[in-house]
């Protein structure tokens, strides 16, 4: 098990955005979190990645050595260093920097040289820097963004920006990747390409993927398991088939006929 949340609750003043959420994600799985708008999906993500500290409950992460670490309330940067990377619902690229720089920056967290040796370009920093450039080049070639490496991130077409955001997260060498609505605003063809891309990175980079998504074709096609959230509470959990036939999920999405 790579990630485990234990009864995490998030309250904003009097509003409970997420209530006693329990999620278990096994190594190598693709797990989706779905639910109507405002169900608390992104809040759940923010609690896992340290943007919010849960009002109650704990988040546990198992690192590569198999040690279970309590990551509740840690800084987002420390959580990223442990191997959890994420993307954002509204694209957050470093807009004025090039595609190459965007990916290169994501290598910074593994830098061991202190800032003085980096500034003075001392040999051990130069070695690390070379490695960072090699990693970036390799990654960009593998995911097909090499041709646009010198473009400004904001000048890429929308679909490519989404892809770049995922690639940037990959550059931090994560074991667990959190995707917040990766297909938001995409047409069916782009969604199909994205599905294939997520499959590809899941296979090639030995990842566990946890994602929020509204496109049901994508979710049903690639998820191993699905959690359904409504008003901050888990209403269902299971394989895509189970979820599709779950009456509570259907009610949550389609509404209940009050006369019935």
């Amino acid at each position: 098990m790579i990630l485990k949340t234990k009864d995490i609750t998030m309250q904003f003043g009097g509003v409970t955005a997420v209530f006693k959420l329990n999620i278990d994600i096994n190594d190598g799985e693709i797990v989706a979190l779905i639910g109507p708008n405002g169900a608390g999906k992104t809040t759940a993500f923010n609690m896992v990645t340290g943007v919010y500290t849960p009002t109650e409950g704990k988040v546990f992460y198992t690192d590569a050595k198999g040690e279970q670490i309590d990551i509740t309330g840690k800084l987002p940067s420390d959580i990223a260093k442990l191997g959890i990377a994420r993307t954002f619902q509204n694209i957050r690229l470093f807009k004025d920097l090039t595609v190459y720089e965007n990916v290169l920056i994501a290598n910074h967290l593994h830098l061991k040289s202190d800032f003085l040796s980096a500034t003075l370009h001392l040999p051990w920093y130069m070695n690390e820097a070379k490695q960072m450039h090699r990693n970036t080049e390799k990654l960009l070639q593998e995911v097909g963004l090499w041709e646009v490496r010198n473009e400004k991130a904001s000048s890429l077409p929308y679909g490519q920006q989404r892809r770049l955001e995922i690639v940037r997260a990959l550059a931090t060498k994560p074991r667990l990747l959190l995707l917040d609505e990766p297909a938001a605003g995409m047409n069916p063809k782009e969604t199909e390409e994205l599905t294939e891309f997520i499959r590809q990175i899941h296979r090639e980079y030995n990842l566990t993927i946890f994602m929020i998504e509204h496109h049901m074709d994508l979710v049903m096609e690639i998820s191993d398991r699905i959690y359904v959230l409504e008003f901050g509470m888990t209403i269902a959990e299971g394989t895509p088939d189970e979820i599709q036939n779950n009456q509570r999920v259907i009610d949550a999405y389609l509404g209940v006929d009050e006369d019935a």
């Binding site: 990645t49 943007v51 800084l75 987002p76 940067s77 420390d78 990223a80 260093k81 990377a85 994420r86 954002f88 957050r92 690229l93 470093f94 807009k95 004025d96 920097l97 720089e101 290169l104 920056i105 994501a106 290598n107 910074h108 967290l109 593994h110 830098l111 040289s113 800032f115 980096a118 500034t119 003075l120 370009h121 920093y125 690390e128 820097a129 960072m132 940037r168 997260a169 931090t172």
Partner: protein, 354 residues
Amino acid sequence: MKKRDMILTIIGIIALFGLAFFVQEEMDSYIRRIVNLCLVYAIIGLSMNLTNGFVGQFSLGQAGFMAIGAYTVGIFTVPVEYRENIFYAMPMNPAIADIELPLWAALILGGALAALFAFAIGTPVLRLRGDYLAVTTLGFSEIIRIWITNAQSITNGALGIKDIPPLNDVRYIFLVTVICFVFITLLVNSSYGRAFKAIREDEIAAEAMGINLFWHKNLAFMVSAFFAGIGGGLYGALLGTVDPKNFLFTLTYNFLLIIVLGGMGSITGSMLGAVIVTAGLEYLRFFDEPLMLFGMDIPLFRPGFRMVIFSVLLMVCVLFWRHGIMGTREFTWQKAIDFVKNPLGFIKRKGAAQ
């Protein structure tokens, strides 16, 4: 390519060094003074550009850090035998009364003290963003000045320190400027510099990419304060006297003007901005003189009028030319060579790109 640029840069620096020698030997003291001021302002402008332009944190504390540097130079380089005369109102604190340092040591000490102070205030202050950060840093810069005014046994209070061995050596200041520029250029081009830019572009994303916001902001703030301290030290040595009133918060706006005009996030822009602002302030002095035209006294030409002109310039710059001269671009040899080879084509291509 990289090698060629490196060689050209070294040749450029040597050529400028030659120019510094020429200015030192051949030019009158007025020109020397302007050149020195340009260089000192460039150092401080660049230090401010590091936090404001590269890390994107709107900090207005530069005058305070300068004051720390300038006073360190003032206190420790004044010859011991003059001190009794200078500190006539209240004798100097015996702990430091006999310490005299060479200028370079005092500069480094001043920079280090400024950096230390930046670290101390950075811890709470850098949690703020935008305007709030600006107001707080401005406040701390005033606190430094007021502390200096009141710590009479150390700083001689409102009387200031005079008889600092004057520094009017263009070569010395030029050397310090080169060191500062090379250091910050290297820093900005290192992985840490890229992390700074990431913070400027998007703090939340930078943090999610494993960049510790607090530590990186504090680091940039300290480096910035260090060089502002050095610049302030040179400023004090250049004037030969330091006085708390030199370091009013309005001084910071000179540097703000420099980096806005030169380009937030551009190293060469800071240099350019410093030269334009400093030389501009000097050569616009005729606006301060009363002007008689056809026997009429033109009413606006009074002392201080050039500051009005400068304010208008700044406003025009902010309104119509927000990215300044350089934006976040840098001077590169490739661009210079393209320009020399084909000036018209270069301008055309640049126009098309925009």
